[in-house]
């Protein structure tokens, strides 16, 4: 067994438990932020698993999560915009911390993979993950102010 999987387990356990705690308690704002953080917690874990199991094919999972996770958050940001309007959730410290963790993990896995197509894919995932995370946070803090009937 190897350090990659150990790191992934820690990431999964810590990030997952924190996200679950956040999403089940507190006001609507806190819950959506926690939902958004799930993506940033689990996606790096998936990358680490792929590396730990020695299966580059598993990277596709991280790719899909990085793509669709923020889309899911946008769904909530848009359809709960009335509830969120009062609180304007913003958790920029958390957002940038999560982005930093994502960047570190992507960099570490890239270093282990070495240059090539696989590395390009990893960089795309990293870019999607971080930008998606930041944009979703932006959307939560008043991205859909004018949404009424549409």
């Amino acid at each position: 067994m190897n350090g990659w999987i150990l790191a992934a387990t820690v990431e999964l356990g810590g990030g997952g438990a924190a996200a679950l705690w956040g999403v089940t308690t507190g006001g609507p704002a806190r819950r959506v932020v926690a939902q958004n953080m799930t993506t940033s917690a689990l996606c790096p874990a998936l990358l680490l698993f792929s590396q730990g199991y020695g299966r580059p094919a598993y990277v596709d999972l991280a790719l899909l999560l990085a793509l669709l996770g923020p889309v899911g958050t946008l769904v909530f940001a848009r359809l709960l915009s009335d509830d969120l309007a009062a609180e304007r959730p913003s958790a920029w410290a958390l957002t940038w911390t999560a982005a930093a963790v994502g960047a570190v993990v992507v960099a570490a896995v890239c270093a282990a993979t070495g240059p090539g197509r696989a590395m390009a894919k990893l960089l795309v995932i990293g870019a999607l993950l971080i930008s998606g995370n930041v944009i979703a946070s932006r959307a939560l803090s008043g991205g859909f102010r004018g949404v009424r009937g549409g």
């Binding site: 199991y53 020695g54 299966r55 580059p56 094919a57 598993y58």
Partner: protein
């Protein structure tokens, strides 16, 4: 540890199934009830995949490993689970469509207030 590990996944599946049933039976909102049904179904995924798991094995996908180089888990249960997930998503959608119509026709989604069919 190992004896617990031998049954833990199955017990989790059973627990999740019963939890979902509890939520379904006590639900006060039909949309919530449909969500609980989805929880019930996720227990079947866990059970099926746990049944097909094999210690120290990897996925039977040979795009990045040589066939025969590593032990592999059971692909059949994975195919079954895939089918199951599709079934779950579609049933959720169909039931939600019915809930929407109930909301329109009855003006409520609380099962306690639906009093038309009885006796």
């Amino acid at each position: 540890m190992t004896t617990v590990m031998h049954v833990l996944p199955y017990l989790v599946a059973a627990y999740v199934f019963l939890t979902g049933c509890y939520g379904l039976a006590t639900s006060r909102n039909l949309i919530h009830a449909v969500g609980c049904l989805a929880v019930c179904q996720s227990s079947t995924y866990v059970l099926l995949l746990a049944v097909g798991y094999r210690d120290g094995a990897t996925a039977p996908v040979f795009s990045d490993i040589k066939p025969g180089s590593r032990p592999v888990v059971d692909p059949v249960v994975q195919a079954l689970t895939l089918t199951d997930i599709v079934v779950g998503a579609t049933v959720t959608a169909l039931l939600l469509a019915l809930v929407l119509q109930i909301a329109k026709r009855h003006g409520t989604v609380d099962p306690d207030e639906l009093r038309e069919l009885r006796g």
